[in-house]
């Protein structure tokens, strides 16, 4: 499934990133590599772009950019513990919802 198909509030794990080289590399540099967990936070008021939380960072990307990111949707229970405290952080201010 694609990242662009997730709904707000859903969590997923990245399985592959495909995009044109420059965008792909930017996505990967910002942490969207295989195995990374992310959460879709919201869509912009007009439905595009998308805001995601990836390792405590708030990232934005357009739908067409999100289409290149293959993900595995995670069930809520699966996503809760990962050993790494930063993962569940909502934000770098260090507190999560």
């Amino acid at each position: 499934m694609k990242l662009s198909e997730l709904k707000a509030g859903e969590r997923a794990e990245v399985t592959a990133v495909a995009a044109e080289p420059a965008i792909r590399r930017r996505l990967m540099d910002l942490g969207l590599v295989r195995g990374t967990e992310l959460e879709v936070l919201r869509f912009a008021p007009l439905g595009d772009p998308i805001e995601i939380n990836c390792k405590g960072l708030l990232l934005t990307l357009r739908r067409n950019e999100a289409e290149g990111i293959a993900v595995n949707k995670l069930e809520a229970a699966e996503a809760t513990q990962n050993g790494w405290p930063g993962l569940r952080r909502r934000h770098r201010f260090g507190k999560r919802a």
Partner: protein, 712 residues
């Protein structure tokens, strides 16, 4: 004076890591802004004297990585490789270590004299994050100095380290990060192939080149491709690609990035403890409102409205005050100069020329104070997020919106505001959209023409239509540019929403000051020259016959036996007539006549042609020129210009509409062309663009005129 030793320091780091704060804290007032060679990326350079050293600091652009995909990243790595700074200080945000260390790892790979400045330590402590700096130093093999650039803490310690490193007193271990076995194997193989290539620079970092080749780096590709050893390297690369595909079902580039992430994550787990906290942060609450599906857009428009008001409503009295003081200056200076040519050159040419440059300063300063507040507070990225969908439809970026809206006030600060856009093609497209956003100086023209030829209610509709036409053509231009000449490298929207922060007053003021100085120094001189040139074309050559007529007629009136008030009125009328005659006789007047065949199809005669030429100085000048030139031969009771225009047989409703459209679209004032040249960096695109706008203006006015003739 003791002899100074010089040390060059480059600051590298992620956007928002606080590089600029550190740069300002270190260099204070000793800085200058230039451009990196070949690109329009600002290069901030400054120096400071510390102990016995003169330390030159170069602030490199903020980057997440060192790929060849963005000009900022290319500039950064070229500077590090070619200029070989004595020390590279990697500014790292302590509150966001994981992402920041990704760049550190890549700087490590370059094997430079690296020093890590762990910034925002005040925030780190405040949030209860604990960082084991000693352990981090071990893992990364470079010294790490905790600092807080905002509070100027730890700076001496940082400088001591810089000095020690450049003197070789303390060692940098230059640890190598180990990648996956397959990647390491390929790196070793390629590096050894490279080391056997005699033509290649011995000093080159073979391991780094090998990594970049595996990352599919087109810059390094072209660099290495010319050597005979390339044949063997290509084989090795193909082998690595197939091996990574079989064993990891991915490509070397992705694998290398994954390995870097894994290394950084490992380091984080070992060295960083985050507090256990369970409540949503302030940022989350703000975002819940500001990015809300329903409230997001209203909040966005409110902010844009506030910025616009700040710039233009607050700026207007200041602008008027400046204009007034320049008028006052003219009045005081004038009597002390000999009447005639010299006085005219100084008063109408130089003083009003300088005035026309300086008058934009309040707008520029206020807008940039507002924009740097938005940028530093973190809202700017969110604004782009909210409006991006609309802008993207026309090939623009979410960040294009604020400069475009600002264009309704004045193109000059608006064009300068496009600096917030990272990609050059997005910037160019936005810059070229801005002049179509009808600026404040064009308003007097619409008010005059719409007011003269339409009843009040209709006049408002006409003006609204004109503004709308500008927006439509502007967006169409952007779309056209982005789907043809500027097709390449659109900025991806993959970006970070930074946490909200209170910007410091000094940084906001500093930004505004920088912009003001840049405007005065770079664009100001150009604008001044052009304004004086246009003044000259509308004053030279002067007809001596008219001068003589003025003298004899004035003498005749003075000698006649009428009441003094009547005399004054007659002299005034005479002067107006002579002024109009002189204008007709000048270069501007002649070019107006020369232009007539070209603008006849639009319904304009040579008199309108003159107004269009002088209007290049500033659009509101169109009104005053029309006033001068149409006053010829009109009775004194017809005082208002709109009455005069209405009574002109050659001036119909259709002409008025056509002229409004032309003024909206044709070449923006010389000031904005000057700023455009400064921001674009070359004359050619600006001239091509001017030709394009002229063509668009002509076609649109032609259509307007013909349709209006048919229907009205």
């Amino acid at each position: 004076m003791s002899q100074h030793k010089t040390i060059t320091v480059a600051l590298a780091g992620n956007p928002n890591a606080g590089k600029s704060s550190l740069f300002n804290a270190l260099t204070g007032a000793h800085q200058r802004v230039g451009n990196f060679p070949g690109v329009t990326i600002e290069k901030h350079e400054g120096y400071l004297d510390y102990k016995n050293y003169r330390i030159t600091v170069v602030d490199l652009p903020g980057t997440y990585s060192l790929t060849p995909y963005s000009p900022e990243e290319i500039v950064t790595r070229r500077f590090i490789i070619d200029e070989k700074p004595d020390v590279v200080v990697n500014v790292v945000e302590g509150t966001n270590l994981e992402r920041n260390l990704m760049l550190t790892v890549q700087l490590m790979e370059m094997e430079v004299e690296l020093l890590v400045a762990l910034n925002m330590m005040d925030e780190v402590e405040q949030k209860g994050i604990s960082i084991d700096i000693g352990q981090l130093e071990k893992l990364f093999g470079s010294h790490i100095v905790p600092i807080s650039a905002r509070n100027r803490k730890g700076l001496d310690d940082l400088l001591d380290h810089v000095v020690s490193i450049s003197e070789g007193c303390i060692e940098i271990r230059k640890n190598k990060m180990t990648f996956s076995p397959e990647v390491e194997k390929a790196i070793d193989k390629i590096a050894s192939l490279l080391s056997h290539e005699r033509e290649l620079d011995v000093a080159a970092n073979h391991r780094w080149l090998a990594i970049k080749l595996l990352e599919n780096d087109r810059e390094v590709y072209t660099q290495v491709q010319k050597y005979p050893v390339w044949v063997k390297i290509e084989l090795a690369l193909q082998e690595a690609i197939s091996e990574c595909g079989i064993l990891h079902s991915t490509d070397p580039e992705a694998l290398i990035t994954e390995d870097r992430h894994a290394f950084v994550r490992g380091a984080m787990q070992e060295c960083v403890r985050l507090p256990k906290a369970a409540r949503a942060s302030v940022s989350d609450y703000i975002d819940a409102v500001v990015l809300n599906r329903v409230l997001g857009l209203p909040v966005f428009f409110l902010v844009v409205w506030a910025i616009f008001q700040l710039t233009f409503t607050l700026g207007k009295p200041l602008m008027e005050a400046l204009a007034y003081s320049f008028g006052l200056l003219s009045e005081t200076v004038a009597p002390h100069l000999p009447a005639g040519m010299v006085r005219s050159i100084f008063v109408d040419g130089v003083i009003s020329g300088v005035g026309s440059v300086v008058v934009f300063l309040p707008n520029i300063v206020l807008l940039f104070m507002g924009l740097s507040f938005l940028e530093a507070s973190g809202y700017m990225a969110r604004a782009a997020f909210v409006i991006d969908k609309v802008m993207h439809r026309f090939g623009l970026h979410g960040k294009s919106f604020i400069p475009m809206i600002t264009g309704f006030g004045c193109s000059i600060p608006a064009i300068m505001a496009t600096r917030t856009l990272k990609s050059r093609s997005d910037r160019l497209a936005t810059i070229m959209t801005i002049p179509f956003m009808s600026c404040g100086a064009k308003l007097p023209v619409y008010v005059l023409l719409a007011g003269a030829f339409f009843p009040p209610a209709m006049a408002a509709n006409v003006m609204f239509g004109i503004y709308l036409l500008g927006i439509v053509i502007g967006l169409w231009t952007a779309w056209l540019l982005k789907s043809t000449v500027l097709k390449s490298d659109s900025e991806p929207f993959v970006m970070e929403l930074p946490p909200y922060r209170w910007p410091t007053l000094t940084s906001v003021v500093f930004q505004a000051r920088m912009k003001a100085v840049m405007y005065l120094k770079k664009a100001g001189t150009l604008i001044l020259g052009a304004v004086i040139l246009i003044w000259a074309t509308s004053n030279f050559p002067r007809s001596s016959a008219l001068d003589a007529e003025l003298a004899t007629e004035t003498a005749r009136i003075e000698a006649s036996a009428v009441a003094p008030e009547l005399k004054a009125e007659q002299v005034q009328k005479l002067e107006a007539r002579i002024d109009a005659g002189q204008l007709e006789y000048s270069i501007a007047g002649r070019s107006g006549k020369l232009l007539e065949p070209l603008i006849r199809p639009l319904g304009f005669d040579w008199r309108i042609g003159i107004a269009l030429v002088t209007g290049l100085a500033a659009k509101e000048v169109v009104v005053s020129t029309l006033g001068t030139i149409f006053s010829i031969g009109h009775a004194a009771e017809q005082t208002s210009l709109s009455e005069i225009l209405r009574s002109e047989p050659g001036f119909s409703k259709a002409t008025a509409l056509s002229l409004m459209v032309f003024v909206l679209l044709y070449i923006p004032c010389v000031a904005s062309v000057g700023v455009m040249k400064k921001e674009v960096g070359a004359w050619k695109p600006v001239l091509l663009y001017s030709a394009y706008v002229l063509a668009v203006a002509w076609i649109a006015s032609f259509i307007t005129y013909r349709l209006a003739l048919l229907w009205m």
